[in-house]
């Protein structure tokens, strides 16, 4: 008997339905670049709460903080690129509204890699001498059991695996089975986040969803970095990274990002922004973007 290949095409709402309160969720992209904002907006509208967010932070982290969805942030920075500091994340931190688990950017890399490889930690010297070891008690030091080139057993940091419950990334083009390509300058950590998350909760959204036979024609072989072995659900979400950039499909929408950042000014400003840009179906969001509101 012949099996049927999995069709993983699902809606944004189905992604949210597979998430649970209290989950640790990695969000792909970098700062204000290729963030899975359609899914992030849907999480902001949902009943989910107490999430731990693992991110190279941008408006994904800020929006979820503003919406009260974040219990803990695992991150090295939060920035909107052209607006250097993420205002909503900043407000949450200064209000003591979220728990903070700081890392160095490279430690995020090692923690995801350790989780993907199913080892408890990876060794590094990153963190030694800094206050990271004070501010992130999950980081510990150890003496290397293996001598270095000079025969010395040096002091190292054990970067623990960042254990995920889910991962969500936005790519340029995908097929219905979960293969996908990045067509911009950088994959960021998307593939590692998907590999670090458990089977069943690994989601991508994509600007285009095409037949597998057409996929390679959209770029070159070495841009085919997301395999269906890493993906459980595919969302067709044109404009799904807006207002962050999704090169080469579209640049960052600076005016829209400015409006988002300005909404951090007061609870009233946030309520107005939320009503207009978050508490609306994604189709309506995209229509408003296309029509210049």
């Amino acid at each position: 008997m012949t099996g049927t290949a999995a069709d993983k095409l699902i809606s944004v709402e189905e992604v949210v339905a597979r998430l649970r309160p209290g989950m640790t969720i990695a969000i792909g992209g970098w700062a204000s670049r290729r963030k899975p904002m359609a899914v992030v907006r849907a999480i902001a509208r949902s009943d989910l709460h107490d999430l731990t967010v693992v991110t190279h932070g941008g408006p994904d982290l800020g929006l979820l903080c503003a919406a009260g969805k974040v219990r803990r942030a695992i991150y090295a920075f939060a920035s909107l690129d052209t607006i250097p500091l993420e205002p909503h994340f900043r407000a949450a931190r200064q209000a003591g509204a979220i728990e903070d688990e700081p890392l160095d950017e490279g430690l995020v890399h090692l923690g995801l890699q350790a989780a993907a490889w199913r080892v408890p930690f990876l060794p590094t010297r990153v963190g030694l001498g800094s206050d990271l070891l004070r501010d992130n008690p999950r980081l510990t030091t150890f003496t290397s059991p293996v001598p270095d080139a000079d025969g010395e057993h040096e002091l190292l940091v054990a970067m623990p695996a960042i254990r995920l419950d889910a991962a969500i990334c936005h790519l340029n083009v995908a097929d219905r089975r979960g293969n996908a390509m990045f067509l911009g300058p950088d994959l960021y950590w998307d593939d590692l986040m998907l590999q670090a998350a458990p089977t069943g909760c690994r989601f991508i959204s994509a600007e285009k969803v095409v037949d597998t036979a057409e996929l390679a024609g959209h770029g070159c072989l070495h841009q085919m970095r997301i395999s269906r072995m890493m993906v459980d659900g595919v969302v067709h979400a044109p404009g799904g990274a807006h207002p962050t950039s999704c090169e080469p499909d579209y640049p960052r929408d600076e005016a829209a990002q400015r409006a988002y950042a300005d909404a951090a000014a007061s609870p009233e400003a946030w309520a107005a922004y939320r009503a207009e840009w978050v508490d609306v179906p994604e189709e309506e969001y995209q229509r408003k973007v296309r029509e210049g509101r």
């Binding site: 200064q94 003591g96 030694l128 206050d131 300058p185």
Partner: protein
């Protein structure tokens, strides 16, 4: 055009370029407008083998600091993840900013006040712990003030010389080379690695620098004046590297 007509910004560019002298074939990774221009100037003159980035995901061969994507001369695809290959293998010299710096070059980028509940949340730890424990680091402070140069930083994101010494062998790759500001050049070439006034920019007095620093600087009896750009450096800066004058917007020349 004479060298004496150099602006304050151009003096800063040259002072930062000088930080890369002797680095050879490594990734010069200056962050910020004037540092980026300085990296280009060092490569265009006395450090021809330096590698520099386009600020995103490529290493580029252009002398011009700010070029359209289609005008880049590409040398290497350098996505963010590749940066750690350079950092962790010791082939990078970064120029970072600092919200706070202390006398041993400990840097704070993360938060002002108590870290657990900061009065001002800044960028975060970013890559500072990894940069400083692995590679040469220089700091660029466009406005030298007692707000930046403090007795004690609130959070140590970048490792300074005293903490490196306390680590012993584990701190052997720490190399906080220099701090360049709009007023002066500082270094750590003292027996106990305390910050020293290396030179003051033309038109700046030693007293001005001391007053703008919130801890006791090591001040030699004779403090030289920061060197002026050569005529060729000025030509490169004004005609090739930064013809639009972005440097002047970051550090205006005092009236």
């Amino acid at each position: 055009m004479t060298a004496t007509s150099a602006t304050r910004a151009e003096v800063c560019v040259v002072a930062l370029a000088e930080c890369f002298r002797g680095d050879g074939e490594i990734l010069a990774n200056p962050i910020g407008t004037i540092p980026v221009i300085a990296g280009r100037l060092a490569r265009a003159t006395f450090e021809p083998d330096l590698c520099v980035t386009d600020g995103e995901a490529a290493l580029v061969d252009n002398d011009a600091a700010f070029v359209a994507p289609e005008d880049r001369v590409l040398e290497y695809w350098n996505p963010y993840r590749s940066m750690f290959d350079w950092v962790w293998s010791g082939r990078r010299h970064v120029v970072m900013g600092a919200s706070q710096l202390d006398r041993y070059g400990n840097q704070n980028l993360a938060a002002i006040g108590d870290y657990a509940r900061p009065t001002v949340q800044l960028l975060g730890y970013r890559g500072a712990p990894g940069n400083t424990i692995n590679d040469t680091t220089t700091y660029w402070v466009p406005r030298h003030s007692t707000r930046v140069f403090v007795e004690r930083v609130d959070t140590v994101t970048g490792v300074g010389w005293d903490r490196a010494a306390a680590l012993g062998r584990a701190g052997r790759f720490v190399d906080v080379r220099r701090v360049v500001t709009d007023l002066a050049v500082l270094d750590f070439e003292t027996p106990d690695k305390r910050m020293r006034l290396r030179s003051v920019h033309p038109g700046v007095t030693v007293d001005e620098v001391v007053a703008a620093t919130g801890f006791e600087l090591v001040v030699p009896d004779e403090v030289p004046t920061s060197r002026l750009p050569t005529a060729e450096e000025l030509r490169l800066l004004r005609e090739v590297i930064d013809p639009e004058g972005a440097r002047e917007r970051e550090v205006p020349t005092p009236a």
